[in-house]
């Protein structure tokens, strides 16, 4: 497995806070869960309607998704399993190594 399978079950989730309350709660949750923020690059840049893409570990993703569903926050899972996407990319690379 590439990267020693460390991304198995990790997800990338897109979230758009509708108002200041959601934005603030997301900031707190991101800090608590120590998510890897893909966009924007800093938590301090998150406001109402800011499109945020976060990479979360398998465990944290359950916590985050449960919160988003219960709080009815608009979200979309962009990458359901990062390890699978990485494996797919490294397949295209592997033949080159063999040569």
């Amino acid at each position: 497995h590439s990267y020693s399978n460390r991304y198995a079950g990790d997800k990338v989730i897109r979230i758009v806070p509708k108002n200041d309350v959601e934005a603030q709660e997301l900031k707190n949750l991101y800090r608590q869960l120590q998510v890897d923020l893909w966009h924007p690059s800093s938590i301090s840049s998150i406001w109402t309607d800011t499109l945020t893409d976060v990479h979360v570990s398998r465990n944290s993703s359950q916590v985050l998704l449960t919160y988003l569903r219960n709080a009815n926050v608009q979200h979309e899972i962009l990458v359901d399993n990062i390890q699978k996407v990485l494996e797919k990319q490294s397949v295209s690379r592997a033949p080159r190594n063999r040569r």
């Binding site: 990267y3 991304y7 990338v12 897109r14 890897d36 923020l37 893909w38 966009h39 924007p40 690059s41 800093s42 301090s44 840049s45 499109l51 893409d53 990479h55 962009l78 990458v79 990062i82 996407v85 990485l86 797919k88 990319q89 295209s92 690379r93 080159r96």
Partner: protein, 307 residues
């Protein structure tokens, strides 16, 4: 074999360095290779200088890979060099550009971070410097420049991804490039930095909402460039001042370049808008680089016009 180098896949740092040496040896009339210094881990900071030899020529600086995980950047820098030298004898515009300008191309700015993103953490962003006082590695190399250092949009927490560093130019990579560009600032007419992802073409300022003095000229160059991008595959790029188009940040290379007098400074945020994000598939390298090549050529041709 380097003679059949595949520009439509991502390459490791070692492969990119071998490729640079190969291009330097096989195109002596158009390419020379040099180093501006060493990284924190001691790796060489290689730059390719493109263009016909000449004295007192104007120049364009292009860097890729300031942020380690943004792999499409280094892929584009390699694509640009390949296209530029192959188009020299075929395309009158490129012949004119390489006759009038030197183009400095740095395929991997953050060499330590890029290597680390291949071996250990695919989503590493920062450099790999280490300060004994803190547990976390790395500084955001695009928050470490001497312009509004450590102000809004940068973090003072060493464990944050946008950590600006203990002081401006604390990162040897930033210091080395800044020193080189500063020495060449009278010649360099455009600074272009390649990032991902958002599909944007940004210009100063990042650290404030005021307009730049030569706003109209820069805006028209950016407008032409994003139209050139759209002409290829219909992909829409936003363009405008970074502070309002993307978000406020301080200590960026683009603002620093503009503030030392380089009249055109741009930061490209390449594909995509998040569907794959940093994991842009290799199948999208070719279209992304093809459209971006048109934009860079457009900006270079803009420099030749009076504005």
């Amino acid at each position: 074999s380097l003679s059949r180098y595949n520009y439509e896949v991502y390459h490791s740092l070692d492969e990119i360095e071998s490729w640079m040496h190969y291009m330097n040896h096989t195109h002596p009339h158009l390419i020379s290779m040099f180093s501006v210094g060493k990284s924190y881990e001691g790796k060489p900071l290689h730059v390719l200088k493109l263009g016909k030899n000449g004295t007192k020529k104007k120049a364009i600086w292009i860097d890729c890979g300031i942020h380690a995980r943004e792999w499409i950047g280094p892929a584009f820098c390699q694509w640009f060099v390949k296209e530029a030298v192959s188009a020299y004898n075929r395309d009158p515009s490129m012949k004119k550009i390489l006759s009038i300008f030197y183009i400095y191309v740095m395929p991997v700015f953050n060499v330590d971070g890029y290597h680390y993103s291949w071996t250990t953490d695919r989503f590493w962003r920062k450099t790999r410097s280490k300060n004994r006082r803190y547990n976390c590695h790395g500084v955001d190399a695009n928050r470490n420049w001497k312009v509004k250092f450590s102000e809004e949009g940068a973090s003072l927490n060493p464990c944050d991804d946008t950590y600006c560093g203990p002081y401006a130019e604390s990162e040897p990579e930033v210091k080395a490039v800044a020193q080189f560009i500063y020495k060449q600032r009278k010649h360099i007419k455009a600074y272009l930095s390649f990032h991902a992802y958002a599909q944007m073409l940004l210009y100063p300022y990042s650290y404030q909402y005021d307009a730049i003095p030569n706003y109209h000229c820069v805006e028209s160059a950016a407008y032409d460039a994003v139209n050139a991008i759209r002409s290829a595959y219909g992909v829409r790029y936003q363009h405008g001042p970074a502070s309002s188009t993307l978000y406020m940040s301080s200590g960026s290379s683009m603002d620093w370049a503009y503030n030392i007098g380089i009249p055109y400074a741009f930061a490209f945020e390449l594909r995509d808008t998040g569907y794959y994000g940093f994991l842009l598939p290799e199948s999208l390298i070719k279209p992304t680089c093809t459209e971006t090549m048109l934009a860079v050529t457009k900006i270079a041709m803009h420099l030749l016009k009076k504005c």
